[in-house]
């Protein structure tokens, strides 16, 4: 019997959370240390399986398979492939850095750490689950602590609204997607919720065309697809820092991960049919959200909309249904995860010290917190797709995929749309338009850098009772981990793309792209 890596990774945070909840409330340091130890442990295990995965063998590895509710065809089935492994590692990294930058939370520390850990249980599990019942079970586990954490520790002004909005949107998204999954379950008729069994089902083309959008767009709501994106900035802004990191860094990826795993991979014919529609939604996400980010005055809202914009690139990458596009989307999911976690951590550091996030009230903070400034700048360059950082490595294949993409199945679409999407310039035009977002992103990031970190430091931040101090040592460690990864992937992409490529090969074969 092999060591159950995935279960250990998934449930270590749960064990740690239970231990923490048993501590007396005033033992804050112990709660923090326990959380950090659990996070370090899961990160090391995730790194171990990341590098231990055998790429030449491919497929799902580290598999665990036990009966759970055999009467309903429900099993406890876990396994990871090259597409989910980076997501597991991402979750571990965001958990680790999230604990680090939450070190200073004094209000109900014990509960905060415990809920944060429980939240990560659901997230880890979702990326490892190969049984759809288990998948939805773990997905909902992630929702309950999220709502509580936003409402209890969130930004007082909007936490009820933001927490409620986010939770409702995510519930609706998962219910819509669940509906599609149930339809697949019934159609397959094998009485099994197992992902591998469903992958063998070979659904009829008409069925796929009807149900693909339900599953795909349902999950895309979790990835903040336009026009269902507004929960993301509102929710992220209302959430406490570590939760924003986990939400924007990882949970948006759950939506996109599931959209590929349960949407495109199970219903490839549906994906071919809907691809031109997806690409338009993705394009709107990319440009519209970038423009909205440009006109924000709240530092955290800039980052919130920036996430929406970047997730649009993942959607565009998926819509290309090509090797380059999907690999790029996979890389973008990881790259954006660490980048946005870094962004939210820096915003949190600024807010904790300056007690405001309004851009006009800030300025010159680089002098007080140089590490935060450098971290934000590195994240910013990743965000604008600057070469040398991971964002470029992710975006270039996506654009190549878009150039290459063609509408594959348009019969049944309205004539005007089929006429438009069948033009040879349809996808290239998307590439040309979406690339504009690079400059918009550069503008809002650099303006934020100039206004928050450079320029004149307001006098009350410099000295007196409102003086701004430097960040903690653990904050620096957390930022160094995230920044280091962005540069590492940017300079040496071979550390990630072969794995993602291996993981996507089965899907690409189904799509006829290999």
């Amino acid at each position: 019997m092999n060591f159950p890596f995935l279960s250990v990774i998934t449930f270590t945070p749960l064990v740690a959370a239970l231990i923490i909840l048993m501590l007396p409330a005033e033992r804050k340091s112990e709660a923090r240390v326990t959380a950090l130890a659990a996070a370090v442990f899961t990160t090391l295990l995730s790194l171990y399986i990341y590098f231990g995965y055998d790429m030449s063998a491919g497929g799902y590895q580290f598999v665990e398979h036990w009966q759970w509710v055999p009467q309903l065809g429900i099993t406890y089935h876990m396994g990871v492939d090259g597409f989910s492994l980076p997501m597991v590692l991402l979750t571990a990294l965001v958990l680790l850095t999230g604990v680090m930058i939450s070190w200073g939370i004094e209000d109900r520390t014990r509960e905060f750490m415990a809920f944060f850990l429980i939240l990560s249980v659901g997230v880890f599990g979702v990326f490892a689950a190969l049984d759809l019942f288990l998948f939805f079970f773990l997905l909902e586990i992630a929702v309950f602590p999220k709502f509580l954490m936003i409402v209890v520790w969130g930004w007082p002004k909007t936490r009820e609204y933001g927490g409620m909005k986010l939770t409702l949107y995510l519930f609706i998204a998962s219910v819509v997607a669940l509906l599609g999954v149930l339809a697949m379950y019934v159609q397959a008729g094998s009485g099994s919720f197992d992902l591998l069994a469903l992958a063998q089902a070979d659904f009829p083309v008409d069925f796929q065309r009807v149900w693909f959008p339900v599953v795909f767009f349902g999950f895309c709501i979790m990835g903040a697809i336009f026009p269902f994106h507004s929960w993301a900035p509102d929710g992220h802004v209302a959430a406490p820092t570590a939760i924003s990191m986990m939400l924007a860094g990882v949970e948006m990826k759950i939506g996109m991960y599931a959209a590929l795993r349960l949407g495109i991979a199970l219903m490839p014919e549906g994906a071919k049919f809907w691809a031109p529609v997806i690409v338009i939604f993705g394009l709107v996400n990319v440009l519209y959200a970038a423009y909205i980010a440009l006109i924000q005055t709240d530092f955290k809202y800039i980052i919130g909309f920036s996430s929406v914009s970047h997730m649009g690139l993942v959607m565009i990458g998926f819509a290309t249904l090509s090797t380059e596009g999907l690999v790029g989307a996979g890389l973008q999911m990881f790259s954006h995860g660490i980048m946005t976690a870094l962004f939210f951590s820096v915003v949190g550091m600024v807010y904790d010290r300056a007690h405001t996030r309004m851009i006009p009230e800030l300025g010159g903070l680089a002098r007080k917190m140089p590490w935060a400034a450098i971290g934000f700048i590195i994240g910013g360059f990743t965000s604008m797709g600057m070469p040398g950082f991971s964002g470029f490595i992710a975006e270039i294949p996506i654009y190549l995929g878009v150039w290459k993409a063609r509408a594959q199945a348009l019969d049944g679409m309205p004539a005007w749309f089929a006429g438009l999407a069948s033009q040879p310039w349809f996808f290239p035009l998307v590439a040309v338009l979406s690339v504009i977002s690079i400059v918009i992103t550069a503008a809002y990031i650099l303006l934020a850098v100039q206004r928050v970190f450079f320029g004149n430091l307001p006098a009350h931040f410099d000295h007196g009772e409102h003086a701004v101090g430097d960040v903690r040592a653990l904050d620096k460690v957390a930022m160094a981990i995230l920044c280091g990864l962005m540069i590492l992937i940017g300079v040496y992409p071979a550390i990630m793309y072969p794995l993602v490529y291996t993981g996507l090969q089965p899907v690409l074969r189904l799509l006829g792209a290999l």
């Binding site: 380059e324 600057m386 070469p387 040398g388 294949p397 150039w403 690339v435 550069a442 450079f454």
Partner: protein, 508 residues
């Protein structure tokens, strides 16, 4: 050791500055002297290696030398592919020469020394990468990544209007590079890889239909995308407006590299990519290029003459001088593989030489303006006057450098501009003749600069001030002046290397 020098010499040159920057990270912030000297000594290593490279390079061999080729991003077939030829070699030497000199001059920077030196070394790696890259994506990577250090050099150490100037600099350049990025993607996609030698051979021959365009139509669109990106960097009129702002606000060391090296990236883009990848389009649109070059020469010179800010005057002079590079490129584009190729060869030799000599003279001019600014805290020409007796050494150096910039026979600028004009005259007679107007104005603005600063009646404000140039600054400019003189008298050592590559290229 010997084997690394043979197999990875270019990588060594390319990454030594970055390694030095990484080393500097571990220095305590207040050890400013240690930081300065380490940065300077580190930057001497690539210079030594590129001199070694120069000696080992064999101009008679066709193609690229010291080639390195490793897999980098194989899912999209992009390789870490480096190499040098007679066009890139002088640029490598120029970059590795100007960086230590700029660092030496920047010893006077007192604020955030560590960050300054780190950015400077990263800037060197970024620029060298462009000159060494033989893969379109790697080219683009370095082309863009070099913007980051320059942005911060302007933004953090610039003068009053630096926020505006730095943002304008980076957004203009990034916007213009979007087309380059898209066109690069299209080339990589249609050819299946990003290799520049491969693209040089097959991209011009591409046939078929792509994205609703014919191969010719696609090439024409991509041609203009490349031209706009590089023309903004050169900069060619009317895309030059970012330059005076960036230069005026940048710290002196930054201006030296900006004018000396970064402007060459654009011109180098024309030579390495636009001419080889788009021979037909280049020939077809060569008159347009020549026209823009003419406008840059004339308008740059007139605008320069109109300035009252000494640094802005020098900044506009760069537009004027770089116009000759583009004029040479245009003449070469029009005559490549025709009976007139011999004219194009001369013009293109002149263009590459002009890139080198302008690197020397503009860096020298910015250095001298910086010397004056550091002592007087003004750049307004009206505030100067009659400084020669106060600073005789400085006056002599300014006179010499200005004459080099002006194109005085016997100094480097004359050789290169003469070659461009000589080569372009039979090809674009009218444009070249009109460009002479610009040359006339060059004399006028240079003389205005010298006259207003060191000649004329002494501005009483400065009586008793110590304005003389320091020994360190003389050391920093001396190699530039020596090279200007050597090239002016005996350009063969440089032209010999350039000419072999260009002659082979112009044969088509």
């Amino acid at each position: 050791m010997d084997s690394i020098l043979q197999t990875n010499l270019l990588s060594l040159i390319l990454f030594l500055p970055a390694a030095g920057a990484a080393l500097l990270l571990f220095f305590p912030r207040d050890q400013v002297d240690a930081i300065r000297w380490t940065a300077f000594l580190v930057s001497l290593a690539p210079l030594g290696l590129s001199l070694y490279l120069w000696l080992q390079y064999d101009p008679t061999l066709p193609g690229y030398q010291f080639v390195e080729n490793y897999r980098w991003f194989s899912v999209i077939n992009s390789n870490y592919h480096l190499g040098v030829d007679g066009i890139s070699l002088p640029m490598v030497l120029l970059t590795t020469l100007l960086t230590p000199l700029s660092i030496l001059f920047s010893f006077s920077v007192a604020d955030k020394v560590k960050a300054f030196m780190i950015l400077f070394l990263l800037l060197e790696t970024g620029s060298l990468g462009v000159f060494l890259a033989l893969d379109l994506l790697i080219f683009f990577v370095f082309y863009e990544v070099g913007l980051i250090p320059m942005y911060f050099l302007i933004n953090l150490w610039g003068s009053a209007n630096r926020q505006y100037a730095s943002l304008k600099f980076i957004l203009y350049t990034m916007t213009a590079s979007l087309g380059l990025l898209l066109a690069t993607q299209v080339i990589g996609l249609t050819l299946g890889n990003f290799s520049i030698p491969y693209a040089t051979e097959f991209w011009p021959k591409l046939t078929g239909n792509f994205f609703g365009l014919t191969a010719e139509g696609l090439r024409t669109v991509a041609f203009w995308a490349f031209v706009i990106a590089f023309a903004l960097k050169v900069p060619v009129w009317p895309l030059h407006t970012w330059l005076p702002d960036a230069h005026t606000e940048a710290p002196t060391g930054g201006s030296m590299i900006l004018a000396g090296v970064l402007l060459k990236l654009g011109a180098y883009g024309f030579l390495r990519l636009v001419l080889p990848l788009y021979p037909a389009e280049s020939a077809q649109f060569a008159p347009w290029l020549a026209f823009f070059a003419l406008m840059a020469i004339v308008a740059g010179a007139y605008a320069s003459f109109g300035q009252t800010d000494f640094k802005r005057l020098v900044a506009y002079s760069s537009i004027n001088h770089m116009g000759f590079v583009v004029m040479g490129v245009a003449a070469a584009a029009a005559t490549r593989a025709t009976a007139d190729a011999s004219h194009g060869i001369i013009a293109l030799n002149g263009a590459v030489l002009q890139m080198f000599t302008h690197g020397l003279s503009s860096a020298g001019m910015f250095l001298l303006v910086g010397v004056l600014y550091e002592r007087t805290h003004t750049r307004n020409l009206e505030d100067f006057g009659g400084l020669f007796p106060l600073a005789p050494v400085y006056g002599g150096l300014l006179l010499f450098t200005s004459m080099g910039s002006l194109g005085l026979p016997g100094l480097a600028g004359f050789v290169s501009e003469f070659m461009v004009v000589r080569g372009a005259w039979p090809v674009f007679t009218v444009f070249t003749a009109l460009a002479m107007l610009g040359l006339l104005m060059t004399g006028a603005y240079i003389l205005k600069g010298i006259y207003k600063s060191i000649y004329g009646p002494l501005n009483p404000k400065w009586a008793g001030h110590r304005l003389e140039i320091s020994a360190r600054e003389v050391v920093a400019i001396a190699p530039l002046l020596a090279l200007m003189l050597v090239i002016g008298v005996w350009p063969t050592w440089l032209v010999g290397v350039i000419n072999e590559t260009i002659t082979r290229f112009m044969a088509g």
